[in-house]
Amino acid sequence: MGTMRVQPARAGALGARPSSGTWSHFDLQLALYALALAVIGLLMAYTSSGGTPLEAGSIFTRGLMWLAIAIVMFTVAATIDYRWLKTLAWPVYLVNLGLLVLTLATGSGVGGVSRWVTIGPVQFQFSELAKILMAVVLANYLAGRQGQLKSLATTLGAFLLVLPALALVLVQPDLGTSLVFGAIVFGSLFLSGAGLRWLLLAAAGVLAMVPVAWAYILEDYQKRRLISFLDPSADPQNSGYQLIQSQIAVGSGGLFGKGLTNGSQTQLDYLPVSATDFVAATLAEELGFVGGVVLLLLFAMLLWRILVVGWRARDPFGSAFAAAIASMLLFQLMVNFGMVLGVMPVTGIPLPFVTHGGASLTSYAIGLGILQSVAMRQGRPDW
């Protein structure tokens, strides 16, 4: 992987100057990979617009709008010194829970679920933002427990901290997003240096929860999805249908794909939710194996870059926050792309940056912006 850092040598020299020093440490790779993924997402929105991508209100034009908003959010988040977040961590935590409660109370969704809150003309999925806010709170918590990281209390505390938000998301019900919360906790604890034995114990606990969850927590449709993942032909017209059609879309794409807007699975609506949950199938069908590999490599490089930012952070907050974001993105990539490829059950977890959706894109932009803020502020002498 080539280094794309902007003028590293001079950046160091200028590091002592607070005003321009931060932007000179701007991590271009971090932004570029994410931007590339978002552009791919726009391309997919274009091809999924049913022949009228340029019309007002098409998912392409809306995607374009959200990308613009996301870039603004990213810039704002990067500009603000992330250390303010430490001060604000507890209010953030309360706001976070408040938003999730609001979602439950007034939210709407398909089939009796509460996922979206309607604000004016837009629907917003606060659980997406909640993941980022939770990463902030968690990173702050771990930063404050330097020296006692290996203790049971730290691990337990981290889980207890996440539990309310996780539970609020779970009862929406949104199993997928609640699992992302789990991934965030595990990842950030792991890379912050939490006791391995406690982590293993927690993992065992989660596994032990599976039968309990099956019996008492999971909704019928969630169980059907899990069963149909194991045997898509069991219910080929419903939940198995998506898995089957997705694999056909991917497989029929072949090496080079059928060409943008030429995917029969996508264009003739065999592939459900082609711009959102199954966006990777659209990509694989129309841009082929080559397109799929480009997507995977962009994710790999982005994740790598986030790890580098985390590694370099002198501040344990930055390190933990990078770990949380990396865990979130990796988990979502694995579950979403895995679902598209038929190796993971159907969940509503978006493919970060690529899936069409304002809430997710702006939330990740904010997350990445905070991370950029961390990256830009490691060289300051008054650290």
Partner: protein, 650 residues
């Protein structure tokens, strides 16, 4: 690059190296990086397997998804009368169909109710239509055909509330002449599982139409054509996006040119309807045929029905009303009913007796008020007898005791032999559905049915066309046509020619000889002259006063049960023919020479069911028909004949 990062970045790290915390945790960063690599590699490998290794397989599945073979209906052939008038039209109409599999059970009642309201048909009919093809829930089922455009548009607009319901433009038969030729044309209707079992090999679709009655049914294979196949691209909802290619084009069906002449048909119907209205008859038949070819020129069975009702998809209520209507309008009484032929059957006894030498045209038989067998008296119809008669006057007066004697001499089996030679008791083979064979009694027949032989009195009855004898009217007409043409019993033809889609003649249907009757020519000539005598001695009242030569035989056939005065109800018959040159000649004032020839091109039959009139109603019907047909400027109809008066059998 990677190792540099972990070893600390001398530039970013402000030359202090990485914090001790990070250095301590480097194995965890490596593990995390490896997990990233593992996830990405696994996904990449799976992507490779699906797209590169199995790409061909999935490409095939995608093709199967989007490409569907679709049958292309062939335009159904048309039907013309012999003068080229078009008797049926294919019009584009809206049909409402439903795919039961696409209709969620929870919404089904609401959908059915909404459709019932919009289409003005009962919910029960819709339910039945949906359940008819229970085994094929993915096929379209017909709900209603011939739906008005505004209703069709409403249904289309409400498609979100009507899942599984589709509005389709499809051709529908329209019969401009309606009831006039309904029994001949029949109609098409939605194919049923029974039909599919019968004609399934012809490649019918589950929402197809098929000829149900009349020539629409008997010439189904000719009319239907060959359906084609085309490849279309469909989306996930199964809606056609575009035509990819036609694998096999549809071949339009061939057309029929009927032997029927609509003008003659209309004249015949006018005559029959006049008499029926005048008398108040429930049902009647009138037919005209060319004895030289067997071509049926007119075939009217009243009451009739509007076959357009069926083509549009008849409601259960309308159908039940037709089934319950007096006179059984759905039945073509000319071919599907068993009725006693009465005195028209004396043709058989007369010709058979002459051929077997029981009498000659000079033999005189004494007629009486009655003949006795044991204590039973068999009365002549006038209850007096007619004195000594030869065959001409015996036939002319229709003396029962005259023919009792001939029948008694012939015996039941010989009588039946001659009857069967004339075609009685066998289907004529006319190309219309539902023809019955009739009942021609013999000793064997009665033994097998009732385990006893025919009694002598029953032989008398058989000789005058009563008793067990019962045949569809077409057999009577066909026997007289054979008499008129000199002994060729022909299959009655309803279709003359098969025409291609552009009107070219594909097939000419030749006259088909059933048999050459084994009578000497002079026997049949004698019977034709006897038939002329029927007219000339005014057995048929003033029929003889027409300016044309008509020969024939009346019949008064008792049936049913006696009334309080001991009288039986009866039908009236007249079967006869007109020579080729029908006009009376001074050289042949009685028309005897004219009927001696065998060149007749018009045989005619009228049958008035349960007429009970003062005179023979059928004769009046034929008289009126001939007046109309030959455009005669005389009107000899006599109202008094049509008075209801159960004179017979008192």
């Amino acid at each position: 690059m990677a190792s540099r990062a972990w070893n600390g970045d001398p530039v970013n790290g402000m030359s202090l190296g990485e914090p001790a915390r990070q250095v301590r945790l480097w194995p965890r960063f490596i593990v995390f990086a490896l997990i990233i690599a593992l996830v990405v590699a696994t996904l990449g490998l799976r992507l490779f397997t699906l797209q590169v290794v199995s790409g061909g397989y999935y490409a095939g599945l995608a093709r199967e998804n989007r490409i569907r073979l679709q049958p292309v209906r062939a335009p159904r052939g048309l039907i013309f009368d012999r003068t080229g008038r078009q008797l049926v039209d294919n019009v584009a109409t809206f049909a409402v169909k439903a795919r039961p599999a696409d209709m969620p059970l929870s919404q089904r009642p609401a959908v059915i109710e909404r459709l019932a309201t919009l289409l003005d048909i009962s919910a029960a009919d819709i339910t039945e239509a949906l359940d008819r093809a229970a085994a094929n829930r993915f096929d379209l089922a017909n709900v209603a055909r011939g739906v008005p455009e505004e209703i069709a548009l409403i249904i289309r607009e409400e498609h979100l509330e009507l899942p599984g319901v589709e509005v389709i433009v499809e051709p529908q038969r329209e019969y401009p002449y309606g009831g006039l030729v309904a029994h001949i044309l029949g109609f098409t209707g939605a194919v049923t599982p029974d039909d599919l079992a019968r004609v399934g090999s012809l490649g019918y679709l589950h929402d197809d139409t098929v000829g149900k009655q009349g020539v629409e049914a008997t010439f189904e294979e000719v009319l239907r054509g060959d359906y084609g196949v085309e490849q279309i691209e469909v989306d996930a909802r199964g809606e056609a996006i575009r035509l990819l290619r036609t694998l096999q084009p549809a071949e339009p069906g061939n057309s029929l040119e009927l032997s029927i002449d609509v003008d003659i048909q209309r004249d015949a119907e006018t005559a029959l309807r006049w008499a029926m209205d005048r008398i108040g008859l429930e049902q009647g038949v009138i037919m005209a045929m060319n004895p030289q070819t067997g071509e049926v020129l007119a075939m009217v069975s009243l009451p009739s029905y509007d076959n357009n009702l069926f083509a549009r998809g008849i409601s259960t209520a309308d159908y039940q009303a037709l089934l319950d209507a007096p006179g059984a309008p759905l039945r073509n009484h000319a071919i599907v009913d068993h009725v006693p032929p009465g005195s028209t059957y004396k043709l058989v006894a007369g010709a058979g007796g002459l051929q077997d030498g029981i009498l000659t045209d000079r033999t005189i038989l004494q007629t009486r008020a009655y003949l006795s067998i044991g204590s039973t008296k068999y009365w002549d119809w006038n209850r007096q007898g007619f004195g000594p008669l030869n065959i001409y006057d015996g036939f002319g007066r229709s003396s029962d005791t005259f023919f009792f004697q001939i029948a008694g001499e012939l015996g039941i089996d010989r009588l039946a032999h001659w009857g069967s030679q004339f075609g009685f008791g066998q289907r004529t083979g006319i190309d219309l559905p539902g023809e019955v064979p009739g009942i021609l009694p013999t000793n064997d027949w009665k033994m097998s049915l009732m385990n006893e032989p025919i009694y002598p009195g029953e032989v008398y009855q058989a000789g005058i066309g009563q008793g067990y004898n019962s045949f569809p009217p077409i057999q009577v007409l066909n026997a007289f046509a054979a008499l008129a043409n000199g002994g060729r019993l022909l299959k009655p033809q309803i279709v003359r020619r098969i025409l291609g889609p552009n009107g070219e003649v594909v097939d000419e249907i030749e006259p088909q000889l059933i048999r050459q009757l084994p009578f000497d020519a002079d026997v049949l000539r004698t019977m034709r002259r006897a038939a002329r005598r029927v007219v000339t001695i005014r057995q048929t009242y003033n029929l003889v006063d027409l300016p044309i030569v008509v020969a024939g035989k009346t019949g008064t056939a008792e049936f049913g049960v006696r009334d309080a005065k001991g009288r039986l109800p009866y039908h009236s018959w007249f079967a006869g023919f007109v020579p080729k040159d029908p006009w009376k000649k001074d050289s042949d004032p009685n028309g005897v020479e004219a009927v001696s020839r065998t060149d007749s091109e018009l045989a005619v039959l009228a049958f008035a069911y349960d007429s009970r009139t003062t005179g023979n109603a059928a004769t009046e019907i034929v008289k009126y028909f001939l007046q109309l047909h030959y455009d005669l400027d005389v009107d000899l109809r006599q109202d008094w004949i049509l008075e209801r008066d159960n004179f017979y059998g008192q």
